[in-house]
Symmetry: C2
Subunit: 122 residues, 2 copies
DNA sequence: CTTGACCTTGACGTCGGTGTCAATGTTTAC
DNA sequence: GTAAACATTGACACCGACGTCAAGGTCAAG
């Protein structure tokens, strides 16, 4: 299948698909005319990329998941490298949440200080 | 005082001070030779900018606070416009926290699904 | 006079995942 | 045959708060 079809089936723009390939996450055979030729399995790979991006992973983070799928695993997360990324990501998210809560407290405190009459819910 | 002194006293780079001015947040008289000439009150203004940036405000968000200070208020947050920014910011932070918590749950769920033996604390 | 510390403006680089456009080649349908 | 829809690569634009470098003007100390 050509890039347009893969784009339509995955809901991902051709531009993004080329970008993924440029960064070594996707690969495509080339037809005689130079057009990219994708297989059915690429639909799954693109879906994996999008699923991970949507929960805040970077493109680079998705690499081990794709490798895992290509090695024949049924889910991209069932390899040791992927699990490591999961755990690192959870740590990062937890850290972000902590930072945000701290910031929220600071902002609320500043507000309370400069506007004593203003109540802050939460 | 010239930009170097203000930079040293506030801990903010000359580059940043010029950037603030470029965006209309700071203003300076000019000496005969073209050098910027700051007053004592600018130290306070820069401090206000940094305090707000450090808790996640954008530069644009700081504008009403600076206006408030320039109008003679003792704190940048004691004007109606500033309070509005505070409240909007709190909403944004709350929304970010909600989004992060949701993402955390999704990641944890994906991990649990692809690696049933992996426990996730939290 | 010269060195060096300071100032000026202007412009490019950063980070990430695209959108968009340009210039060109290919395939498909009429 | 030709137009429309598709493909290719390459490159610029975006967002935000700067860092950094370039090329030059200014000023005090030696």
């Amino acid at each position: 299948m050509r890039i347009g079809e893969l784009a339509e089936r995955t809901g991902v723009s051709p531009r993004s698909l080329r970008y993924y390939e440029q960064h070594g996450l996707l690969s495509a055979r080339r037809a005689a005319n130079g057009y990219r030729d994708y297989g059915e399995e690429d639909v799954r790979l693109v879906a994996e990329i999008r699923a991970l991006l949507s929960v805040g992973f970077t493109l680079e983070d998705t690499r081990p998941f794709l490798d895992c799928l290509r090695r024949g695993h049924s889910t991209g997360g069932s390899c040791a490298e992927s699990v490591e990324v999961y755990e690192r990501k959870l740590k990062e998210i937890d850290e972000e949440i902590r930072a945000l809560l701290a910031r929220r407290a600071e902002v609320a405190a500043q507000l309370a200080q400069s506007c004593p009459g203003c109540f802050v819910k939460g």
